[in-house]
Amino acid sequence: MKTEADLLPLSPQAARAVGRLRPARKIGRQIIVILAPFVLYGLFLLYNGVNPWELYVSMVRSAFGDWFGFGETLIKATPILLTGLAAALPARAGLINVGGEGQLAIGALLATMAAVWLLDALPAAAGIPLMLVAGALGGALWAGVTALLKVAGRINETIASLLLNYVAVFLVGYFVHGPLKDPHSFNWPFSPEIARQLRLPVFDGTRLHIGFLLAIAFAVLVWLVLAKTGTGFRIRVLGGNRIAAERAGIRVSLIYAGVLLAAGALAGIAGMIEIAGIEGRLRPTTGATYGYLGFLAAWMAWNHPLRLLLTSFLLGMIAVAGNELEIGSGLPSSSVHMLMALVLFFLMGGARGRKA
């Protein structure tokens, strides 16, 4: 916010001096931003008797060293990428969608319902695509509620999608404890396992399923739509300057609804992939935190679909490291959230936003 004091300009000499400092300071600052979180986290680890260097090395090694580790990272990165797209696409239109969590859950729910109730006997070639559609439909429906509330009820989409996340989780809970409960489960709350042939094909030697190819394909698709098509053009205009978009006759409500539905579909597909690729059945905690991680990945990628490939991979790497940590040194895997958070804190701290 400008104060009266801002009216006084810098003298020309001062301005030049500051300008000369800029490039050097900029690189220096960027280095600090990238390294500092790892250093800080390392200190934490040291204090708790874990060798940070070893952890980081094994983190990188397991991510790139062998196929299994690489596969694990991609497994984690896939839903993050899709929910990241679910946050990034509406963001390009100027909307803030934090509902990836719920949209993923409902997508997983519908996919499971389809698999267990309808598609049981179908061969993979038919069953898997149909399951995909079910997942997309579920997510889109859930996002549709947010869209409806936004367009017709003028409720802010951030609040609405956030609240709906919780309703979604409880909805899943209801089904998994009730109509969708596995009769053979001894009262544990999860759904029956989906049919073998409905599971996604897996690469040999890893747990990696082809879902990650699907996610990458969608990322490219979203990028193509945004960058190359007329619709994408209009979306970006709307996100850039809403007044200009209105003046140009762009139908704002239609685009809002459209991007939200598409986002929901993407998150729903992430849900389906979690079921068909990894879990095999629906649990109350299926897909937990992926929605929020996707939002953060998108934010880190400045909502650019291709950059999202990188940021979701990075977050996936850190998530896998969490598992390593648990196995290797008995630290809870969620403590790796700390590292993620530190990375983000420094990114935010290093950026130059408008000061409140």
Partner: protein, 303 residues
């Protein structure tokens, strides 16, 4: 049975209530803190740990508040000094809180404390029904009940409250009156973190007498939602928090009684109610969102 439910509602809802009162202060000043969940966890662990070390639950509560406040300081710095996106910063803080407390709290998982126990107020707690429901709680719950009218008074009847609200509505006007809005916002965010921390402490030191990783289980996010449901008014936030508590208490009762209502619908209820309330609020000519806050939710949410 009703009395049990109501008592449970109050007791269970206190932690949410404290956090949402704190978040209410922060949002009234124009800053939304999705990281309240993290602050609550920090308070829960900090309070628990301090009680273990000192044996004094009051010190524990205070420590819990300070831990929550420390965490919210990060959010305040990022948002107010570095212009970070409020929602991204809050979510990150939430993750950070979950991670840090999981990490640091490992050794406390099996610890036992005495903590706070229900203290029946003499005479008043003997009143049939009401006495049981209102006057047989732990000290933090009593404090939280007193907090609500106090907060209402400060917000609407003192100049501090006016300054706070002005910071969240039109900071230029506040600035023109010679008060620095940024300082006000800092104070508000820290106050929010403090109260969230105490809320977390209530959960570990008074309600469950234990520490478990991620024990708040979303209460912090619920608290943020409650503030919106309450249209930024203290008494309504209290109502919302107790509704949440009632849903939890009801769930236990429903299970005990073997009723066929799925508890999940009860859990959904507060959120659906919030959405419905928001719809109604929009219908009225004027929304009660503090103006400064509404800009956070608009497309220019970066700072």
């Amino acid at each position: 049975m009703i009395a049990d439910i109501l008592t449970g509602a109050l007791r269970s809802g206190t932690s949410v209530m404290l956090a949402s009162q704190g978040e209410l202060i922060s949002e009234r000043a124009g800053v939304i803190n999705l990281g309240t969940e993290g602050c609550m966890l920090a308070g829960a662990l900090g309070g628990f740990a301090t009680t273990v070390w000192t044996g004094n639950p009051w010190l524990g509560a205070l420590a819990g508040g300070l831990c929550g406040m420390l965490l919210s300081l990060i959010h305040a710095c990022l948002v107010l000094d570095r212009g970070a996106n409020q929602l991204a910063s809050g979510l990150t803080l939430m993750f950070f809180g979950i991670g840090v407390t999981a990490f640091l709290g490992r050794s406390f998982v099996s610890e036992q404390i005495v903590g706070f126990n229900p203290v029946p107020i003499p005479v008043l707690s003997d009143i049939p029904v009401l006495g049981e429901v209102l006057f047989n709680h732990d000290p933090l719950t009593y404090l939280s009940m007193l907090l609500v009218p106090a907060l209402w008074f400060v917000l609407f009847r003192t100049r501090i409250g006016i300054i706070l609200r002005a910071a969240g509505e039109r900071e230029e006007v506040l600035f023109a009156c010679g008060v620095n809005p940024r300082l006000v916002r800092y104070a508000a965010v820290l106050a929010g973190g403090f109260l969230a921390g105490i809320g977390g402490a209530q959960l570990s030191v008074a309600y469950t007498h234990s520490w478990v990783e991620n024990m708040t289980a979303g209460r912090g996010v619920v608290a943020v939602a409650m503030v919106i449901f309450a249209a930024w008014r203290p008494f309504r936030a209290m109502l919302g928090a107790y509704l949440f508590g009632a849903a939890q208490a009801l769930q236990l009762t429903v299970q005990q009684q073997g009723l066929p209502i799925s508890p999940y619908f009860l859990f959904m209820a507060p959120y659906v109610l919030t959405l419905a309330a928001l719809l109604i609020v929009e219908r009225r000519k004027r929304s009660s969102v503090p103006e400064g806050l509404s800009r956070v939710f608009a497309a220019d949410a970066d700072g």
